[in-house]
């Protein structure tokens, strides 16, 4: 009985711990923020969600210096991409000019650039490894 209980307890622990054992942390640092005000609105995507509206995870990061950092915990190792904009006036929206061009700074992981549109998945994707990953994006 005791042995069985121990086994169940051990299995339970394993079951609970299993996702953690294969889950990873991703630390994203955003550097080169020009205006020390507002928020960095950051979305983390996998390939399936990159072109759509939903994100795997996200963060709103208050800007107090020229960089911000966020850590996403418990991610499945694999390929991800980040899209972000600097909500300089903190109105919760990515502001655009009358022709629809962004007037607030934005960036993609890998510092990828678009060509007549957002950066492509293949240019923005990066790997989150099992042992954890740090990724830096530089605004310009």
């Amino acid at each position: 009985m005791t042995r069985l209980s121990s086994l169940i307890a051990a299995l339970s622990t394993c079951l609970i711990a299993a996702p953690l054992a294969s889950a990873s942390d991703l630390t994203v640092t955003v550097e080169g923020i020009a205006k020390q005000q507002g928020s960095i609105m950051l979305g983390l995507f996998d390939e399936a969600s990159y072109e759509g509206d939903g994100a795997v995870d996200g963060a709103n990061l208050t800007v107090e210096g020229d960089s911000v950092t966020v850590t996403f915990e418990g991610l499945e190792p694999g390929e991800y991409a980040v899209r972000l904009y600097h909500d300089v006036n903190d109105d919760g929206e990515m502001n655009t000019n009358p022709f629809g061009m962004p007037t607030e700074p934005y960036a993609f992981s890998n510092d990828a650039k678009g060509r007549f549109g957002p950066a492509k998945w293949d240019d923005a994707k990066f790997s989150v490894e099992a042992e954890g990953t740090a990724h830096t994006i530089t605004m310009n």
Binding site: N95, N97, P98, F99, T103, K113, R115
Partner: protein
């Protein structure tokens, strides 16, 4: 014109009057590039670093004592990387010139506008950016219009700030003295990246009006003499017509919606144009005090690049002058072949006609054609912009076998008279600007200043005419020790 002036001009290097002034330049003529016609000199790349300030030589005549200021000009000047030619003249990087004139002396300098396109192409040593006539390289990122901004079309000085203008992106701010680039101009935070057309209109009191063109939606800028944006509004012109220029009276803006339409502004832009003459040439007339107060006028189908200026008569009739073409003059090789030293005769057989458009208070507009065929770059006296006037100067003298013009003509709309000075086949003549004479009281009280490429001497020249006596020829000519490529538009400040 007296014989000595003609002799000087034909000789290319001064004798006669110029010789007697001891002002002849001993520039060694630049031979045409191998296999190239002489006029190709106007389409050769400028040095990557531009031109450091260098005095020009007074090669002819006497400089007007009251002529003081700077002639700024802009034009494409990177036409080649190695063996590769630019796909289109309009896509060459903008080289911004300053010819500073004071105490009878002229000093020329020039710098390329420091754009993303310029930086990345210089680093790679090849053309990369998409553009008006260029597909571009897939590796070149384009996140907005300013990433492909060539800053190569015109210049404007507002409250001492020099702006290099393109038509599909921001103006680029530059130092008016050193010509160093400061960067894209943002008139207001919410207008960042909005286009700023290369043909702003400056009222006699210094207020600037301009358009931002994006398909059928057009923005209107009103900028105080101080450089502060006073107002910005949007209007809809109904279709994605090509708009290079427009015009205005003292009370109204007139947006010419020509039936040359491009619904797909993807590179190369020139490939997307469609001639739709069934629409005619429509004109949206917008009240300067209330952009929602609009009316339309209609004229027969015409294509155009450049207007002179407009005015309004007491009964509300609007009149303006414009060089009109019966069909588009791009899309048949114009602007691409010249860079390679080729001249497409088909591109040269359609000539614009200097025309006065008369828009009555009600009903269709009528076109009153002048006898000037083959002219371009019409200019008027700056103090008469938006006001009733009668003088227009433009470049004239086209030839069937080569690009460019060899003459300037002053047209008088009131009398129908015209005065022309033709420099002859050894010169390529560029836009001439009115510079009001000190103490002048009429439209004709002005100097005309412009640049001329001397193919015989291989030098660029700055010429000054008396607006009242154009057919007498230049009153003075400064000659550089070198040449620079042909450009588009300039301003006097």
């Amino acid at each position: 014109m007296d014989l000595s002036r003609r002799h000087f001009l034909e000789a290319g290097c001064g004798v006669g009057l110029a010789g007697s002034l001891g002002a002849c330049v001993s520039a060694s003529p630049i031979p045409a590039a191998p296999g190239m016609p002489d006029w190709h000199l106007g389409y050769r790349s400028a040095p990557a670093g531009g031109f450091d300030p260098a005095p020009m030589t007074l090669a002819f005549g006497k400089v007007p004592a009251d002529l003081k200021g700077s002639l700024y000009r802009n034009g494409p000047a990177q036409m080649q990387y190695g063996d590769e030619y630019a796909s289109h003249w309009f896509d060459g990087d903008g080289l911004i010139h300053r010819i500073a004139i004071e105490d009878g002396r002229a000093v020329h300098q020039a710098r390329f506008a420091d754009t993303k396109k310029r930086r990345e192409e210089q680093a790679a040593g090849k053309f990369l950016a998409p553009g008006f006539g260029t597909l571009g390289d897939e590796s070149f990122s384009v996140e907005g219009p300013d990433d492909v901004n060539a800053a190569n079309t015109s210049v404007l000085v507002v409250n001492g700030e020099l702006l290099a203008l393109w038509e599909a992106g921001s103006a680029f701010a530059m130092d008016a003295a050193t010509l160093e680039t400061r960067g894209p101009k943002t008139w207001r935070d919410d207008l960042k990246g909005m286009p700023f057309l290369a043909h702003p209109k400056v009222e006699p009191d210094g207020r600037v009006w301009n358009l931002a063109v994006g398909g059928e939606r057009v923005g209107i800028y009103r900028i105080a003499k101080s450089g502060q944006l006073e107002d910005f509004g949007m209007v809809n012109i109904g279709r994605a017509a090509y708009i290079h220029d427009w015009t205005m009276t003292d009370r109204h803006l007139i947006i010419l919606v020509q039936p040359w339409v491009n619904e797909n502004l993807r590179p190369p832009v020139v490939a997307g144009f469609e001639w739709q003459p069934e629409h005619g040439l429509q004109m949206l007339i917008v009240d300067k005090d209330d952009f929602s107060n609009q009316r339309w006028a209609q004229a027969p189908a015409r294509m155009f690049f450049h207007t002179g200026s407009a005015w309004e008569e007491s009964d509300g009739t609007i009149k303006f002058d414009v060089v009109l073409y019966k069909r588009p003059i791009l899309g048949v090789g114009g602007g691409a072949a010249e860079i390679r030293g080729e001249w497409n005769a088909a591109a040269g057989d359609e000539h614009g006609v200097l025309t006065q458009v008369v828009i009555p208070p009600k009903g269709d507009a009528s076109l009153v054609e002048s006898a000037i065929v083959g002219g371009e770059f019409p200019q008027v006296h700056p103090q008469y912009r938006g006001q009733q006037r009668h003088l227009t100067v433009l470049t004239t003298g086209v030839a069937a076998n080569r690009p460019g013009t060899t003459a300037i003509t002053m047209h008088d709309w009131a009398s129908g008279d015209r005065a022309t000075f033709d420099f002859g086949a050894t010169r390529m003549v560029e836009e001439f600007l009115f510079v009001p004479k000190s103490g002048g009281s009429s439209e004709a009280d002005a100097w005309l200043i412009g640049t001329v490429l001397n193919l015989k001497a291989g030098t660029s020249e700055v010429c000054v005419f008396d607006a009242a006596h154009v057919s007498d020829g230049p009153v003075c000519i400064w000659q550089a020790d070198y040449s620079w490529p042909l450009g588009f538009h300039g301003t006097w400040a």
